[in-house]
């Protein structure tokens, strides 16, 4: 198993943390994992993208150039990365902030991440809705490993928000079914 993904959103949407939680879940399952942020001078209000590779084999190139999976948090980032996705690949997009992609050779999954986050009780949990969808759609890591990662590797200052985020995770998982 070898799966390259790009997680892309605007600064503040939590796309980097989303991929990082999944990276921890991969480590928990004893997989090889690479998480690499497209770091640059821009931060808040700018774009925030990263590569997440989870593999059973040794990982070579640490940057996804043609990923099998794109997790796009808004229209701008969906537009920026959609053409890079491999034919037959998976596109998970936040349908509250982006329209369905035009490409017919990819499998697209709509996740109303903002709506889910509001229902769960905190707008900022939209990234965990996307994590839930990734978990369900790809089947790369087990949902129980993702829960473990959230419980053990959520940022210290956000620990009290874990129940809300767990709810968003569950709803995102269900939405992608």
């Amino acid at each position: 198993m070898y799966a390259e993904a790009i997680f892309a959103g605007m600064g503040g949407q939590g796309s980097l943390l989303a991929a990082q939680i999944l990276a921890h879940a991969g480590v928990y399952e004893n997989r090889n994992v690479v998480w690499y942020p497209a770091y640059g001078p821009e931060t808040r209000g700018g774009t925030a993208a990263c590569t997440l590779i989870i593999s059973d084999e040794q990982i070579g190139a640490p940057i996804a150039s043609h990923p099998e999976i794109l997790v796009a948090f808004n229209q701008r980032m969906l537009d920026a990365y959609i053409d890079k996705v491999k034919p037959g690949g998976i596109v998970i997009y936040n349908s509250d902030l982006a329209a369905a992609p035009q490409r017919k050779d990819v499998k697209a999954y709509a996740v109303p991440a903002n709506t889910i986050a509001m229902e769960a009780g905190n707008m900022r949990s939209q990234n965990m809705a996307m994590v839930g969808a990734y978990t369900r759609v790809t089947g790369i890591v087990d949902a129980s490993s993702v829960k473990w990662a959230m419980e053990n590797h959520f940022p210290e200052k956000a620990k009290k928000a874990i129940p809300v985020n767990m709810e968003a995770l569950r709803k995102g998982y269900d939405a992608a079914g």
């Binding site: 990082q20 990276a23 921890h24 991969g26 480590v27 928990y28 004893n30 997989r31 090889n32 994992v33 690479v34 998480w35 690499y36 942020p37 770091y39 640059g40 001078p41 040794q58 990982i59 070579g60 190139a61 640490p62 940057i63 150039s65 043609h66 590797h153």
Partner: protein
Amino acid sequence: MKKLMKGNSALCYGAIAAGCDAFFGYPITPQNEVPEYMSWMMPEKGRVFVQAESEVAAINMVYGAAASGMRAMTSSSSPGVSLKQEGLSYIAAAELPAVVCNVQRAGPGLGGILAGQGDYFQAVKGGGHGDYKLITLAPWSVQECYDFMALAFDLADKYRNPVCMLLDGVVGQMQEAIDLHPVEVNRPAKPWAADGAPKDEKAVVNSLWVDPDILEDLNRRIQAKYRACAEKETRYTEYCIEDCELALVAYGTSARVAKTVVDNARKQGLRIGMFRPVTLFPFPYARLAELAEAGKRFLVVEMSCGQMAEDVMLAACGRTSVDFYGRTGGFVMTPDEVLDKAKQVMASPADPCQRSWEL
């Protein structure tokens, strides 16, 4: 269980495990996690952390701490490492052990904050003034960032010479799962150290020798050390090399890309392999010469305009063709780009006098 962390953080865990006594540094992207982590990790262990007022101050603090027998280090990124060159020359001349980490960014000048490999010459050919070298280790994974720190301190002590950990921004910034295993540390006695202990002979640390006889002796002694180091410490890894027609030669992030290129090429039936120098100084000239003799061609892949490629040409010494593919500006070459170039090279006649260097 393994722990997920950045290459930069792994350098810190590696330094702590290696018994680093003192860290002196100054912030610069993309190595900022190193001073950040050291600022709490070192005091926690009762060791020294100083955020110096400049890179020049930091390297001279390393000079002083090393002279007193401490395991001392600094870290920076390209422009900051340029500022340290005078100090490194002094440390090498005073025959002191020290470790300097360079998480390379794109140059020249202030350049950019994205990854680059343009500091190869500076690291392996001396960098500062006078005849000296830095023993240079090039990790390609977060695990190696951890593992090589103990090796770096050991080699520094063994040869009484500064050691460079040469990373690039990708290796520093990416997170991988690593095993923080206990490391074996070989820490020799340092009778030469100016540590305040009573000694039969005064411990003098100096890099100024106005007597030409003494200075030439020093140069001979230092060069003899480098020859011994080349004999004993040259390290490299090979991947699918035995039956290959074309060997990609790369280190750090470029080697990670090259590994993927080899896997993709083999699926297409192309006999491509990879040779990865792990020590950039001493450079594995002898093994590359053997591969050249065996008729293998080389394609050097670097995030630079072709620096290590010159050492590969020295090793090939006209016996095989040496081609080059590089990206700069902060770009990392994609596996597809490199495979296209490799196919183009393999389709052209092997002529050691004709080189295609592509940027």
